[in-house]
Amino acid sequence: MALAEALVRPGTFAAPDVLPVAPPLDALFPYGGLARGSVVTVDSLTVALALLAATSAAGGWCAAAGLPDLGLAAAADADIDLQRFALVPAPGEQWAVAVATLLDGVGLVLARPPARLKASDARRLAARLRERRGVLLLSGGGAWPETTDLRIRLETSEWTGLSDGYGRLLRRRTGLVATGRGAAARERRVSAWLPA
């Protein structure tokens, strides 16, 4: 057991290449960031946007596909550089093609899958993802027909700043849970203030 722990600890060998994630959300991931080549489900868009922030801050490109209703002011709040945030709001029937194409040139793609995505399309995309070393974040609803590598769930959410008729929304205390397969099989829990 001790040996296995040592093998997967970041900084030792066997740690995969990851895209950076700022604390405290980094604790959701076995290797402290988004493993390249993986598909991650995130039920809250606020959390998803927070996961794009560190990559964007490092000058990397992000993209959003199939999310015509994404709040772009919220994306800017999350410190995403809108000049490096490609938006394909309504790819329609071409969703899988659009995401696959984006992954050719953009390292981190946030997307809402269509209601009925073919399992074969999902498998092809996952293969493309591993080959291109990108990360696909699924959020905003829709369904992925395969098991994803990691699932991040918003378990609790307590807003601050509002009372009966006074104040305004400031931020919320969230309880997040991540479960997945492989190195991520052990459930990870993080408590985070969002926006940070």
Partner: protein, 508 residues
């Protein structure tokens, strides 16, 4: 007194098809890749449209003739038309093959008025084109579509009833539509100062167009003339390909120089010369600001029209000099080159992303791939707008100043469009209403969204009053926003007015 030039525009519909010189009744389509780029009237009558896939066009019109697009051929075919116009007036400016304009000031006086000038031009071009005259480029181009002469000083009146989408700026037009601005006249009626603060540079340009003015205020021509890109070719270039190579280099140099001066160029003078003193110069116009690629393309069109055009007019020897002069510039380059000077970003990453975005546009359509620009405005629909990749992006709006009633961050992560109808009730189940003073008389207790189950409200704040059409006192609508957190932990941005409630955004 007006400095807006009066122009004659000559336009040929479906030029890429017309240039093929086919039987006008033959259904034909010109393709770029697998998509229909232009089609003949006969094809359109069968349901063929721009943007259709080849197979779909053939399904709708089985006898259609399909031709690959050949831009050099289009330029060559238009060359005699421009030459004929230059006999009428030396300063013809070409926007693209099939569309060009000339100032009427001198020629109309010479020929005895606008109608007489139209007659002369129609005769010189064998009645094959649509011709219109109006003050300003935008009005003149629209007059040409209809084949009419708009009297002096009447461009604004001519434009007023026309729909806003003629402005050709989808994101802005969309925003105008949301604000209830349907015609160019509605846009023209907005006060200039508010347009500048609310819609930014693109809004100013659109506002100018709607009023019958030209898009940009022209900066001094002297400034423009100082920036020239020129190259002497030794040995002279005999082919369009050789010249295209030089053209690209010159265009890149010129674009960089313009960007360094923060200038946008809307008209460029391209001159090609041989050692035997033969010369072909032409003015090219571009809506907005020329990119290096667009300039290089104009050079290719021009030299193709000369070297491969009518035999009698071809030069006797190779082209020895090529010169690009920005002839009309405006401040604040609309299409600013993004300079990759920040420490973290990598040029290669940007180029890779640019490549896939362009590929996606080929796949899904130009408007399908965007970048967002933050803009001012109180309502969530106005906080950001999408600009198609490759289009000039206005500078992001500084969101701090003066939008009274605008809520600060955090912003909702989901903006509902269309908004979700809701019902907000008090403890007794009665609707909560906003009175004429913009306040609610009783605390909201439950909300139901889209006819769903009413959920208890855990916390709320507001109202933040809004007057959406702030420039139009008569259209004053009493509207207010609230933030509501329900017992299930969901926070929403809701609004009410005229007895109704709706959800504008969710903090997902």
């Amino acid at each position: 007194m007006s400095r807006t030039p009066r122009l004659l525009t000559l336009w040929c519909p479906d030029w890429p098809v017309a240039a093929l010189d086919l039987d006008p009744d033959e259904p034909a389509a010109v393709l770029v890749g697998e998509d229909v780029f232009a089609c003949s009237r006969a094809a359109r009558a069968e349901g063929v449209r721009r943007g259709l896939r080849r197979r779909e066009a053939q399904r709708r019109c089985p006898e259609i003739r399909i031709v690959e697009r050949d831009e050099a051929a289009e330029a060559r075919a238009f060359e005699p038309v421009v030459n004929a116009l230059e006999a009428v007036c030396p300063t013809v400016e070409v926007s693209r093959p099939g569309l060009c304009a000339l100032p009427t000031k001198g020629p109309a006086r010479y020929f005895g008025g606008d109608e007489a000038l139209v007659h002369v031009v129609a005769e010189a071009t064998h009645d094959a084109y649509r011709i219109g005259i109006a003050d300003g480029r935008f009005a003149s181009a629209l007059a040409a579509r209809r084949g009419i002469v708009v009297p002096q000083g009447k461009s604004a009146a001519f434009l007023a009833p026309l729909p806003v989408d003629l402005l050709g700026r989808p994101a802005l037009v969309d925003l105008f539509a949301r604000l209830g601005l349907r015609t160019l006249g509605d846009v023209a009626a907005l006060p200039s100062r508010q347009v500048a603060s609310r819609f930014g540079a693109e809004g100013i340009a659109a506002h100018r167009l709607a009023r019958g003015l030209d898009e940009h205020l022209v900066a001094s021509r002297a400034t423009a003339r100082e920036i020239v890109a020129e190259e002497t070719l030794d040995p002279p270039a005999e082919t369009v390909e050789q010249l295209a190579f030089v053209a690209k280099r010159l265009a890149d140099t010129l674009a960089a120089e313009l960007a360094a001066h923060v200038l946008g160029c809307a008209r460029v003078l391209i001159e090609a010369e041989t050692d035997n003193g033969e010369k072909r110069s032409r003015l090219w116009r571009y809506d907005g600001a020329f990119t290096a690629a667009a300039m290089a393309q104009r050079v290719r069109w021009q030299v193709a029209g000369w070297l491969e055009g009518p035999v009698a007019e071809r030069p006797s020897t190779g082209v020895a000099r090529l010169r690009l002069t920005p002839d009309e510039v405006h401040r604040g380059a609309g299409q600013q080159l993004r300079l990759f000077d920040d420490a973290t970003g990598s040029v290669e990453a940007d180029e890779r992303a640019a490549t896939v975005m362009a590929r996606l546009q080929g796949l899904l359509g130009f408007d399908a791939v965007n970048l967002a620009v933050l803009s001012g405005g109180r309502g969530p629909a106005e906080w950001a707008r999408l600009v198609p990749w490759g289009e000039p992006r206005p500078a992001p709006y500084d969101a701090t100043p003066p939008w009274p009633g605008r809520l600060p961050a955090p912003h909702p992560t989901v903006i509902h469009d269309p908004v979700l109808p809701a019902r907000v009730v008090d403890g007794s189940g009665a609707d909560v209403l906003l009175d004429e003073h913009g306040v609610i008389s009783v605390a909201p207790q439950r909300i139901s969204v889209r006819g769903g189950r009413p959920v208890p409200i855990a916390a709320w704040a507001g109202p933040w009053p809004v007057q959406e059409r702030w420039w139009d006192a008569a259209a004053h609508v009493s509207l207010a926003r609230f933030q509501i957190v329900t017992a299930d932990g969901v926070a929403r941005l809701v609004a009410t007015g005229e007895g109704r409630w709706w959800v504008e955004g969710t903090y997902d």
